[in-house]
């Protein structure tokens, strides 16, 4: 009986290390009306994605080179972004309803598809806010 009590105790003891509780949340960001066209793929999106995302989220990377990035989550084109804009907002955007920081992760590859060997560059909250607004504007422009 002592053994089983000890066993249960050990197992319960390790339960203190719980999972990451960050929950993807819509930011509530909206595109200004009228759309000022200040945040576009050319002026903001492409650079943001290249800096923070496409080392893993790129159509040029096969599954074994993505360092965990889900398949078909590719942000090297505007079309790729527009496939899952809400997901981007909920993972990395900031707005009145939420500041999401699940992405980028803590560690990244230096080169696209390479080994994870450095701390990921971290967007500022201002950049995250711009990201959410830009995503909202691109959805609006695409008629979504």
């Amino acid at each position: 009986m002592r053994l089983v009590v000890l066993g249960f105790g050990v197992m319960l003891g390790v339960l203190g290390a719980c999972s990451d509780s960050a929950t993807p949340t819509p930011t509530g960001a909206v595109c200004p009306d009228p759309d000022p066209m200040t945040l576009t793929w050319g002026s903001f999106g492409e650079q943001f994605m290249t800096t923070y995302c496409t080392a893993c989220h790129s159509t040029e990377l096969s599954h074994s080179m993505r360092n965990g990035a889900p398949l078909y989550h590719d942000y090297d084109t505007l079309a790729g972004v527009l496939k899952i804009p809400d997901h981007i907002d909920e993972e990395a955007g900031a707005g009145p309803a939420a500041v999401n920081t699940r992405m980028p992760p803590s560690r990244c590859p230096s080169m696209p598809g390479g080994k994870i060997d450095r701390d990921c560059p971290e967007p500022t909250e201002a950049e995250r806010t711009e990201l959410a607004v830009w995503v909202a504007c691109e959805q609006q422009r695409a008629g979504k």
């Binding site: 197992m11 990451d20 993807p24 599954h63 993505r66 965990g68």
Partner: protein, 260 residues
């Protein structure tokens, strides 16, 4: 001892890795050994699997220590899997979700018995790393087992519910977590049968799965099993395939247990 082994082989209670426990929670460790004196078992299971879902391709390996207590009609168990997960080229180590369970036989008639079980899965695994559900899961179930001579059979039916809002479904990455996917709310089931072939060896097969209530995926797993057992030690190997719902493509589980 014969009944102990037969029931163990049928229900897969010898050692149940976190994954098998989750999918087969209602029958796991049900322990129909009829022991009047308290009995304790400790064990370990190792498993290796490959998966290919809509978003991830990879594999995982795990080791899951288990401790169980059984006395008469009642029993309890705890299991915690430790994983190495490779998903789309990223390797991760970490705990899976911990499983705590309790069960009781309610009816015993000759070679048949039936009972109830309650398992609770705690979110010790990282949801972000695809090692855990991210929520407490509560899983009540009914089970029944029959042992006639060299043959044995069992079945179970249960309900699983995440203790979280079911409205919060986000972008779909496919089945989650990768190491042992479940729906946030589902009906679970399992059926199993085996036969003793001599030399303390039993051969059997089983199928188990989950049917979502609301959004989700129907999951079906099937497997073949060979088990060997003596009075104090039992060992089994099961080869499983995922037939529906992308739980994995193929998975092998080797488990052994010592009883005291």
């Amino acid at each position: 001892m014969k009944r102990w082994l037969a029931a163990g082989a049928v229900t897969g209670w010898l050692i149940v890795p976190a994954g098998a426990a989750r999918a087969d929670h209602d029958m796991a460790m049900s322990g129909h050994q009829h022991a009047d004196a308290p009995a304790v078992s400790i064990g370990v299971a190792v498993q290796a699997a490959e998966f290919e879902t809509m978003s991830y391709v990879g594999s995982y390996q795990s080791i899951a220590p288990t401790v169980a207590w059984m006395h008469g009609w009642f029993g309890a168990n705890a299991t915690l899997g430790l994983y190495h997960l490779d998903e789309n080229g990223r390797g991760t180590y970490g705990m899976g979700d911990a499983m705590l369970g309790a069960h009781a036989a309610v009816i015993r008639r000759g070679e048949a018995e039936a009972g109830v079980a309650l398992h609770v899965m705690l979110p010790t695994g990282s949801e972000v790393d695809n090692l855990g559900m991210g929520h407490v899961m509560v899983m009540p179930a009914l089970w029944g087992a029959w042992q006639g001579g060299r043959l044995g059979a069992s079945a179970s039916a249960g309900y699983a519910r995440a203790l979280t809002s079911l409205d919060g479904a986000h972008h779909d990455h496919g089945p989650t977590p990768l190491v042992d996917p479940m729906n946030l709310q589902e009906l679970t089931w399992s059926v199993a049968a085996d036969v003793e072939v001599g030399h303390h060896v039993r051969l059997g097969g089983r199928a188990q799965g989950g049917v979502p209530i609301g959004d989700g995926r129907t999951r079906v797993i099937s497997g073949g099993r060979v088990a060997w057992g003596m009075a104090r030690v039992s060992t089994a190997f099961e080869l499983q395939v995922g037939l529906a719902g992308d739980p994995f493509t193929v998975r092998g589980v080797l488990e052994t247990a010592l009883r005291f």
